[in-house]
């Protein structure tokens, strides 16, 4: 009798512990490889590390060197240009496509897949494909010239003023379908009779979208902007594949800056400092978001 209750207790115990046991390894791994390394990186950014980590405290010396570095400011400015345009165009195109698809057109499923498909590619593939398309001697420019437009030039990829905009084009191509899917889900969640009520009230379709539907999608805007801006800040592979940061360092983003200083130029300290700056930027976006999310779930 007592042994059977013992067994049952054991069984209960295992059952109760099982989720924790299963989650524990990933928890430990996350703790070490993400938060542990963040702390390590934070410490390194205050040392004199160059090629290899060194642990002698150097105060804010690396940050001072970072801020004095012209290349860092190019990367930061590029991030503002890239991030801003990337987010704006993804939103505009995504919303536009979502509204069109929401008109219950035929073949909607196929179209949705077509627009969403780029999201399934890695940024490396996108970057490489667009590198070929935009390469003056290989892609679009050559094609147009062969078709007889002799004066057609599209050399943004090799133009140091314009290179960052090619990154915008490829990024928007890749991500606007995803924004479309987000907004389409939001639009589908809106009660049909709201639109009918507005029609009875006398509103035209554009007015209905402008005054009622798009404003009531505010939470979707919020999610889309958060997701897009963290994609923008982390952007690394797209630039590496498309322009490699060039010409020169004209299309560097903070992530590629960090990589080249930390791992190819033997300036670990500056790399660590720039990584911390990126972390701060992401935190500045994510923390208010998490805060408002958590608050609303606790309330709701």
């Amino acid at each position: 009798m007592s042994t059977s209750t013992d067994k049952r207790n054991w069984g209960d115990l295992v059952q109760a512990m099982l989720p924790k046991i299963v989650v524990a390894p990933t928890f430990v791994a996350t703790l070490i490889f993400i938060y542990g390394f963040i702390l390590w990186n934070a410490y390194l950014s205050f040392t004199k590390s160059r090629l290899l980590p060194r642990y002698d405290w150097a105060g804010t010396q690396q940050y001072e060197r970072l801020f004095a570095n012209e290349r860092w400011w190019v990367a930061a400015e590029n991030l503002v240009i890239f991030g801003g345009l990337f987010i704006i165009f993804c939103l505009i195109i995504g919303i536009f496509l979502a509204i069109l698809l929401d008109q219950r057109i035929r073949a909607e499923g196929a179209l949705r897949t077509i627009y969403l498909y780029p999201m399934a590619l890695s940024f490396i593939v996108t970057g490489t494909a667009w590198k070929w398309i935009l390469n003056p001697g290989l892609g679009l420019e050559r094609l147009m010239r062969e078709w007889g437009f002799e004066n057609f030039t599209f050399d943004w990829l090799v133009n140091s003023e314009m290179a960052i905009y090619t990154v915008v084009i490829a990024g928007v191509w890749q991500s606007s379908g995803f924004v479309m899917a987000l907004f389409l889900a939001g639009l589908r969640g809106i009660d049909d009779s709201i639109i009918k009520a507005a029609q009875v009230d006398g509103a035209s379709l554009p007015r209905i979208y402008r005054s009622i539907i798009i404003p009531s999608l505010r939470p979707v805007f919020f999610s889309a902007i958060i997701i897009l801006s963290h994609i923008a800040i982390k952007s690394f592979d797209l630039v590496m594949a498309l322009t490699g940061g060039g010409p020169g360092y004209a299309s560097d983003l903070p992530a590629t800056f960090m990589y080249s200083f930390a791992f190819t130029r033997g300036q670990l300290g500056i790399g660590a400092a720039s990584a911390m700056m990126m972390l701060c930027a992401v935190a500045a976006i994510i923390v208010p978001y998490l805060y408002s999310e958590l608050r609303s779930t606790r309330r709701g």
Binding site: I194, K196, A197, V200, D201, G202, R207
Partner: protein, 370 residues
């Protein structure tokens, strides 16, 4: 002039024939109810009146004006939706004034109208809230307010009360009726609830499968249903339908009823001509529960009243009346009995059958015989 005339309206969604020729005509100021089971096409018809759904064939006129192909905004109508359909991003005030601002009503006048509507519906304190901060009943009021803000020639309601709890539903029902009395505007009201239909309507159109079964006043429909569907749909508890053989008993046309206590015959007065040919056949007797009561001595001498002793099945007290179930010709039959006269299950009760309002239906088609 803002009556409504619907002339042979048809509606198809692809292969699905939803409305099969609807004709309705009401006068200005009438309260029309469209009632019927779910899926019979009530909302579709209402949306066609509003212009939100295209017409396959037929015409709709409001007043003297043919509006069949006009946009909703040009039809001079206002509508209340089942799901309320409030604009989620706007405050109550903006919800009410949205239609006005689209029609370019001056701001000061808008404010005046909002105040008037808010007062009428007692939603003044809610004006600056968003719909998500309102209860179901409050949303319902705001939806009504939005419709009331403009002075349309017709109000359309699509099951406006079906999402409210029972008590609120009864209150709002009364309020809508008062509103109609006060405004005197033509109203078309869709519901699947026959009690709502009876209490609110001046004219009721009962629909089934895209066809109007009967169109008339509540009392007409209650007393003189044209078929078994209408008879069974209106009234609660529902009318009893008892298949009974028609016989000649002592040279008097009668129907034969069989209870556990034995057979008895109820003579039919007044409908001999129509039922003569049914002798020897079985007909469906339609008798409302309140026409089978306990023995009321003062009624005993009235015409068409007959007594019988029956075995009591299940008993359901409702408060004012007790519903007693008996078995007649193997059909469960409800009787409405005074609570003090009700008997317990298994006992016998003296019942009084009042056949003056009895109706008879064809067993196969359910059509009214007489």
């Amino acid at each position: 002039m803002s009556g409504l005339k619907i002339d042979n309206i048809q509606k198809r969604f692809g292969d699905v024939h939803v409305l099969k020729g609807i004709d309705i005509e009401i006068d200005e100021g009438d309260f029309l109810i469209l009632v019927g089971p779910s899926g019979c096409g009530k909302s579709t018809l209402l949306h066609m009146i509003a212009g939100l759904e295209s017409v396959t064939s037929g015409t709709i006129s409001i007043g003297q004006r043919d509006v069949t192909h006009l946009n909703p905004k040009d039809r001079d109508i206002a509508m209340v939706f089942q799901s309320y359909a409030l604009y989620p991003n706007m405050t109550v005030r903006q919800n009410i004034s949205f239609g006005l601002s689209i029609r370019k009503v001056p701001e000061s006048e808008q404010e005046e109208i909002v105040q008037r509507v808010a007062e009428m519906l007692q939603i003044g304190p809610l004006l600056d809230r968003k719909p998500s901060q309102l209860s179901g009943g409050q949303r319902q009021r705001v939806a009504m307010g939005r419709a009331l803000a403009r002075k349309p020639s017709i109000f359309l309601f699509d099951e406006p009360l079906s999402n409210l709890d029972a008590k609120l539903r009864v209150e709002m029902r009364t309020e809508i009726k008062e509103l109609h009395n006060r405004l005197g505007t033509t109203m078309v009201y869709v519901t699947h609830d026959q009690i709502e239909a009876m209490t609110l309507g001046q004219r009721i159109a009962i629909m089934k499968d895209g066809v109007i079964q009967q169109f008339g006043s509540p009392q007409e429909i209650y007393d003189e249903p044209v078929n078994q569907f209408v008879a069974g749909f209106i009234g609660s508890p529902s009318m009893n339908f008892i298949p009974c053989p028609v016989v000649k008993q002592d040279n008097q046309l009668s129907i034969e009823l069989d209870n556990e206590t034995g057979k008895f015959y109820l003579p039919i007065d007044g409908k001999n001509a129509e039922l003569e040919s049914w002798v020897g056949k079985t007909i469906i007797l339609g008798l409302r529960p309140e026409k089978i009561t306990h023995d009321i001595a003062s009624h005993a001498d009235n015409q068409g009243i007959h007594r019988a002793n029956c075995r009591v099945g299940i008993v359901e007290p409702t408060g004012p009346d007790t519903l007693v179930f008996i078995e007649l010709n193997n059909t469960k039959t409800v009787c409405r009995v005074d609570p003090s006269e009700a008997k317990n299950t298994g006992e016998n009760i003296d019942l009084m059958f009042d056949l003056t309002k009895a109706v008879f239906f064809e067993p196969e088609t359910g059509e009214r015989v007489c």
